[in-house]
Amino acid sequence: MQMEYTDRQRGLRSEVRDWLAMHVPREPLASFDSPEGFRQHRRWEATLHTGRWSCVTWPEEMGGRGLDLIDWLIFEEEYWAAGSPGRVNQNGVFLLGPAIMDFGSAAQQRRFLPRIASGEDIWAQGWSEPDAGSDMAAIRCTAVREGDHYVLNGQKSWVARAVWADWMFGLFRSEPDSLRHNGLSVMLVPLDLPGVTVQPIRQLNGLPGMADVFFDHVRVPVDQRLGAEGEGWHISRAISSFERGLMLRSPARFQETARALVELYRRHRDSADADPAIRDAVLDCWMQARAYALATYRTASRLMSGAPLGPDASANKIFWSELDLRLHETALRILGDQAELLPGAPDAADAGRWLEGFLFAQAGPIYAGTNEIQRNIVAERLLCMPR
């Protein structure tokens, strides 16, 4: 047990801090679920790439810096503390990129990774279907081999970022009549191919953050299958473990929200203290964000000493998604009758960011595997309870 940063780590921290101070946009960007915001965020990814900060844990030859997990936590702390934009590129950088490194051919790595690192290709992820949500093994989208192509048919639902993304990775049934987890493959599909129809779905804030994607005899070359044919379930599990686990929701983001919540409370103390429970709720949120940070350092230490990322990824997902809800619910309680004001309303506090975050937080316990499914995983795999 050793809890000091090394000189190299402190050096990295100031390097990140200095670079961000020079480059983070002064004005907050529009939501990346709007056309203008998507363009702004893609430009920001390109800017990050020029500083070689877009995918710091990737190997250097892939456009990264080869940083370890503790370094990554330091980067993330500086990133969110500097008020940097959200990552429109997160599906590519945190989910698909590592999977291509683990399962992709050398040619696929050369072809896809540099364009993810630079933000030239923004990726959507397509798992769910109308009849395959929590029961993901029920998927019916097909990829039928015809010579050196697969022909894709079916519908993917709730595909995040699909409206403006360039590509989608998703799970298709490549072996006809196969059952459940067998006979599935991960396919990499450009969203502008003939036969692909993207139908936007508006989220609670009115913006199309996701879409239904329809495939009607879409021809995809065989070299756009990731990993072996039939290995899709295994690869998709690995990807969702990245998603639930360490990388997608770094603690720094919640710590900065918790800090903003404490500051909000201090500004509104005169009215907020009329309900003494609010102070305790604020402190509780702050403590939980801190606990999440410490737990992530602990997970990083374990992974670096060779332990695998197991069902604790599910525990992680439960924890951050419920924390995110509590943070924003508490903020709205403090704001009282200002809470309902939309971003842009002349009298909205903090430019309406709390309401925006509150609406977004509603999705947390559902996407990336509902929290009910995560609790099953914790009970069955961590606690070894009967199925």
Binding site: M1, Q9, R266, R279, A291, S301, M385, P386
Partner: protein, 380 residues
Amino acid sequence: MDFTFSEKQLAYRRNIRRVLMTEVPPELLRELWDADAGRAYGLWQLFTELGLTALSVPLAHGGRGGSDVDWVLMAQEAGYYALPGPLLHTAWIASALLAALPDGALAEHWLPRIAKGEARLALGHPLHRLVADAHVADLLLLHDRDEVHALLPSQVRLTRNPSLDPSRHLYRVDWQPSAATRVADADTGRALWDRVLDRAALSVAAECSGLAMRMLDLAIDHSAQRRQFGKPIGAFQAVKHQLADVAVKIEFAKPVMFHAAHALQHGDPLAAMYVSHAKLAMGDVARLAVRHGIQVHGAPGYTWDGDLQIFMKRVWALDAAWGTRTFHMARVAAAVLSADGAIGARDTFPRPATTPAGPSAAPDPRNPSVMPGLQATETY
């Protein structure tokens, strides 16, 4: 930056676990409830042979010079096995207090005895009316306002107060402070009592962590054995999710506790707040483990003969020990709500570098002269 424990620390814990599992079963705890002093001489001898009484006594006084981090691991085990008696108070908290007293004479006399298992100590504190295990103490360290006083059993009069937890022995202690009993004045004493409180609150957090894990294990076992509707009740999601919630909470409270121990050991200026966070978090976990533990056990969960009560009553009893929730929340509030609070993402470890932790002084499990291991089973 490394949150993992050394192989030596883990090996020591494995050994402690193995011995306590066989030597301190619930049946023994129940026997001791009915025994006069509620304490078994053999148990203290076992702790001594396992190296626990000497764990944090400084090397110069015949101990092993262990740390708060070593102790927090052991205190978890003390919770898991619901150890009765003043082990943590004597060997961890009072030892540290003795070693920090301005006059070294008392430490000189008592620390070697503690290490050898020849002395048990009881601790008062300005926060507490009563003193735990005063009836078996060879020395009592008590407060008069902020002063520290050391008293022998012959200098005090004890009145027993039975507790909800039959393993806890609480006493009102009547005594007369005098210049002869005073071992630290109020100015020195204030800081000493603060440190006692931090260590004791951390030990309660660690015990709660062990208690929560034990109740979780009992509930998992029960849910696998008990069948209804043709299958083990643990196969039902409503049961699974209750226990998953406990498991998740434990996993996210442990790093807070380990970090607090590390901070305390290194004199971090924010250690008091970190300890309060740990006690609040582990207290929440333990209360949830009680509630869901009883629920999963069904009717056996609220019986005298069921073992769950041993652990849940300890949790209830410890809830307000060494600072109530209100007390610890106020300490967190003072740190977090102050104008200069370092509370953002960059402040997970706000302290600049200090001296790294010394090597763990846990006894070497491969050395039989230090580690009697299972031979200890022959002590009673």
